[in-house]
Amino acid sequence: MWEHFLLKRGFRNVVRGGQITGFQFKIVIPYYRGLWVSAAFQGFAVRVDGVVYPKNKISLKIGDRTFPLTEVDQAYDDFWYFHDPATVIVEKPGGLTPGLHKVECGIFYEKSYGTKETPPEGYNFQFSAGFFPPSRGAAPQGGAPPAGMGASAGKDPVMAGLMTCSLDMVLVI
């Protein structure tokens, strides 16, 4: 039920100082509750019409705050609310042309049912570290898909390990 996280509304070019600097679209939380920004975007990828946009060209607007994707790990005390879509802003001078575009988005969020910490001595019993302890410190992109995610990404290296959503969206200026 969570794999349909791309919204059609909100897809548009971004204009700054009279210039089109890029495009943006909205995503909802593909989970049953809100997420810490650092947890929500441990893996993230955007591909539009087959073009992959690097992390340093992507930022996220959540509420009234904007986070560069490269800095989300620092946003571990910023909360992305359950009901509020986030805006994904992608830098692309000139933006996208009016018409139909294929937008693909992949996301990996860390769940709370495990920990990256190594159990200290005295805690070496089953489930002390969680149901599904994640692999320690590993970002999912380019690695093996974490349990429960990435099945839909198949062998696509860009989306490996990510929950993906793909839509043909109409860009209107």
Binding site: Y32, G34, F79, F82, E110, T115, Y123, F127, A129, P134
Partner: protein
């Protein structure tokens, strides 16, 4: 003393029992159409009905159902115990304003609902680098403070164990009880259980268990069968025969051999294994008895209720477990935790109806 002060101060079993009864009686218009609580039976045993708002997640996300709507619904069905997830609230978490807290208490008064348990998370893996115990405990402390303001005297938590152990003194400081969730596939006899019992013996008011009724899942979910039939990989008559044989305790090998004679599809053959595996992690309800003194809250897990007017869970052994809770002095709420909306997408699962069906089952067994 107003109701908010009464709940906040007395927060123990006595207050919630009395308030559950008063809440029902003081709210006749809300309960007229639904089940009404009976003071006598509430006092006979101490098991009360509640709902985790987790149950309404899809209605909240996709259909605009608000927290207020959830509380009104719970009041309408006489499920007064509120399990609340701060991380599903809108707008203010983790910095909750006094105005929001006042609104919360106004809603509790209006609907006769009782703050009971916070669905809490350690969230220790929210960064790419591991977080320290101190960072994790500080994070939990903030949630415990919110719980305190909202009158939620219990918090459902889970791993990591070493963080929980360090959070016990903090829980004691705020008068909050931490319930370690025993969730499938955890067995009731294990090193983890022994570890929590050891902590609970030392700090009975600060830690214990929240058993999730999913540990008593014995039967397969009908929806899974229906998906396979729809996909053409499973034959209905064969599937129903296998399930019936399993319920009657028939030998698996005999059933498998009989299925071979039914001109089976590959899916029919593998369904024997699936059905017989459905209860693989099912615990013996009697094994819960020694842990009941450490339990103050129960998760009433539910994926799918039966469709007719018999009001039974399709998978879990509620008919056996609830009497065990009633007879062995469990004192607290069973919060319905409907989770059937998380599978599929083929059918529009109606959370309101499924929760109501689950509550009708609880009411039948509890008598109130």
């Amino acid at each position: 003393m107003n109701r908010r002060e009464c709940i906040s101060i007395l927060a123990g079993a006595t207050a919630t029992t009395v308030l559950a009864t008063n809440g029902a009686m003081g709210n006749n218009s809300a309960t007229a159409a639904g089940p009404s609580a009976s003071a006598k039976t509430v006092l006979d045993h101490k098991v009360k009905r509640g709902v985790s708002i987790y149950s309404y997640q899809r209605a909240m996300m996709e259909k605009g159902m608000t927290l207020r709507d959830c509380l009104e619904e719970m009041s309408d069905i006489g499920a007064y115990g509120v399990e609340f997830m701060t991380q599903a609230m809108s707008g203010e978490y983790p910095n909750v304003s006094d105005k929001w807290v006042d609104e919360w208490w106004k809603m509790m008064d209006k609907f006769g609902t009782i703050p009971d348990c916070l669905t809490g998370f350690v969230d220790s893996c929210r960064r790419l680098k591991p977080m320290t115990i101190e960072e994790n405990v500080a994070f939990l402390e903030r949630d415990l403070k919110i719980a305190k303001k909202l009158g939620l005297t219990k918090v459902r938590l889970g791993p990591p164990a070493w963080v929980i152990e360090h959070a016990i003194p903090v829980a004691e400081k705020y008068g909050i009880w931490i319930g370690w969730e025993i969730h499938a596939p955890m067995p009731l006899k294990s090193e983890l259980i022994d570890w929590v019992v050891k902590q609970a013996e030392k700090h009975p008011h600060a830690i214990g268990f929240v058993p999730d009724m999913g540990i008593f899942q014995k039967y397969p979910r009908p929806f899974t069968r229906e998906l396979q039939i729809r996909a053409g990989t499973l034959t209905r008559d064969t599937a129903l025969y296998i399930e019936d044989a399993y319920r009657k305790g028939a030998d698996k090998a005999e059933v498998a051999s009989k299925v071979q004679g039914m001109k089976p599809k590959p899916g029919d053959v593998s369904y024997v294994e699936a059905v017989y595996r459905a209860g693989a992690a099912c615990q013996n309800p009697k094994d819960l008895i020694p842990l009941i003194p450490y339990c103050k809250h129960v998760h009433g897990k539910c994926h799918e209720m039966t469709k007719g007017d018999e009001f039974n869970d399709t998978e879990m052994l509620y008919g056996e477990v609830i009497p065990v809770l009633m007879e062995n002095g469990f004192d607290g709420f069973i919060a319905t935790e409907f989770e059937g909306q998380r599978v599929g997408g083929v059918e529009d699962v109606d959370e309101i109806e499924e929760v109501r069906r689950h509550q009708l089952m609880l009411k039948r067994i509890l008598g109130s």
